[in-house]
Symmetry: C2
Subunit: 354 residues, 2 copies
């Protein structure tokens, strides 16, 4: 009897120890709300690849369920939903929150701002991440880069834009801060749902529109109805954002925190490479099938007017918001140095190899 008792005691102890180790592997299930509908490739597929990496690395123990806007019905409510803890995380773009909190505007892309390699250098090594956390802290969340579209094109125009006069009264769909800049120049900025854009452009309800770049634009068919494709100025590197509820993140075991951080980071970089690839392929296809389409760049007169309007608006916003001002100054100072390097490295190489 003594013998059996000792064995039982030992086994009970062993089971207790192993069960507690196993309990730390208990499945964690998070919910992520996207601003996007379910099929907005490559935004949605990038989020899916992030969740898949976390699932595989955690051996199926950390699952992130993705709700598209088709399901949660609130594309621009995701900030509030993560803040309230209704979703543990979201995928969106920081510049959508300008109306709620202007301090969140600077982390997606700014007119006449940094290119993607410059911006990644700023985020990760030039103080950008720290400023982004400072701006998101009042919303009880962390924010992480969520994928880059690369330089966005200036938009599809039915008619050539030669002078500032041509912009006056022009009806254009261009959302956000870039729209405010053009409004300063007399453009009539309109807001039209994505599903109605093609018809609006075809029928002349609008004269021009801005979407993303060839890779994403080609699916909407704008090249069939507007023969002028202008190069960009307003979003030289549009970085999307992951938003993560602070309390939910801090409650994760260290290994899951790291899996999430690393998976978001690689999915973001990958989206930049994928957008680069798809824009290159899509433009080659458009140029072959629609050889009459012209790539144009706005004239120096127009560019200078845009820059002046941009500076005027930024100054107004900076004067009223110290944290916004701090982010703008950080970007301006960084850009001053990094653009010199961009010129002597990639730019000088490219100008002899176009």
């Amino acid at each position: 009897m003594q013998y059996w008792r000792r064995i039982v005691a030992t086994l009970v102890l062993a089971v207790a120890v192993l069960t507690s180790a196993s309990a730390s592997e208990r499945k964690i299930v998070w919910k992520l709300a996207m601003t996007w509908g379910g099929t907005l490739h490559p935004f949605t597929t990038s989020v899916e690849s992030m969740a898949k990496m976390v699932e595989t690395m955690s051996d199926g123990n950390f699952i992130i369920r993705i709700d598209s806007a088709n399901r949660h019905k609130s594309p621009f409510g995701v900030l509030d939903m993560v803040k309230a803890g209704q979703y543990e995380m979201a995928h969106s773009a920081s510049y959508y929150w300008k109306g709620k909190d202007v301090n969140l505007l600077p982390f997606t892309s700014m007119p006449f701002g940094m290119t993607a390699p410059e911006q990644y250098a700023w985020f990760y090594y030039g103080g950008g991440m720290e400023l982004m956390q400072k701006a998101y802290a009042p919303h009880n969340m962390y924010s992480f880069p969520g994928g880059n579209t690369g330089a966005q094109m200036g938009g599809w125009f039915r008619k050539e834009i030669k002078t500032l006069e041509d912009l006056k009264g022009l009806k254009m769909r261009i959302p956000g801060f870039a729209g405010e800049v053009l409004a300063e120049l007399g453009t009539v900025v309109t807001n039209i749902a994505p599903g109605e854009l093609y018809t609006a452009l075809e029928r002349g309800t609008i004269d021009a529109l801005e979407w993303v770049g060839p890779g994403m634009d080609i699916k909407l068919g704008f090249h069939k109805v507007a023969p002028y494709y202008y190069t960009g100025w307003h979003e030289p590197a549009t970085e999307l954002q992951y938003l993560v509820n602070q309390k939910a993140y801090e409650a994760l075991p260290e290994k899951y925190k790291e899996m999430l951080r690393v998976a978001m980071r690689v999915a973001a970089y990958d989206m930049y490479a994928l957008n680069y690839h798809e824009s290159s392929e899509a433009w080659a296809q458009i140029a072959t099938e629609f050889p009459h389409i012209k790539i144009e760049t706005f004239s120096p007169e127009i560019m200078n007017a845009m820059k002046a309007a941009n500076q005027k608006l930024l100054k107004e916003m900076s004067d009223a918001n110290p944290l916004f001002k701090e982010a703008m100054e950080s970007q301006a100072q960084y850009l001053k140095k990094v653009r010199v390097w961009t010129k002597m490295s990639d730019f000088d190489y490219l100008k002899d190899n176009l």
Copy 2:
């Protein structure tokens, strides 16, 4: 007695099940050999960050021990050591193996080739990774991108290079394939150990040398003794490589395979961003402290001669090696499309914003 026996049987079963689950968590320890000495930042620190990510994500159960060349004493032996399974993995640059297997040359950087964003798009979405695995398969290994320096500078010169005549007889340290291109133009290409480079340049033993870019060059002090810094042509985006023994990789549990893949990928992208940042900072410092240093670009006459020599050498190698030819054709075809996109996106934006 019956009662005790049933309890014991149940407990024995429970322990067996839990012990087997726990056994799959047995610690895995790998060894990684670097081509670099122990302090070649940011190459070595990038490898360290990769290993740290794997360690944290695996909760300390997958450890990668790093040996620098100071320890294993064989910087250019790492390919053979991984092939033989002496090390599970290595960190090096694929173009170092040109002499052993020319098919491995195309995966680091080629003269007049792709920029970093173009090359990442090619690797991950344009067929580059598949070609790289095909080239490494005969060596029983997989290869993964291992970090990018960005565009490398053309080098530090004691005298200005105005004509092709100035290159003839010029003594320059420029290793690898770029050195062969310059040798075609009459440059006397020499090989000097890194530790002796500064003195050789200072004393005029050599007239010029190529290293990396401002971020890594500044530590070696070349700017103190050579006032002409030429822009690059020979390595527009130098991607290092991880080499992984195929058998060792395939023996890993799926979750560890994924942690390794993801950690290598993010460390590689991060190194590109970090090099961008450090080159920008270092050049700002050099330009401030040594304002006499001139950034120069080789003349069209010199560039065209380099391009012709490059094409001649590539053709000879392509004719003799079908797999090398396949990789060169893939890069050339990709470049043709992607450079058009680079021009209309980043280049056209930059030319109005320098």
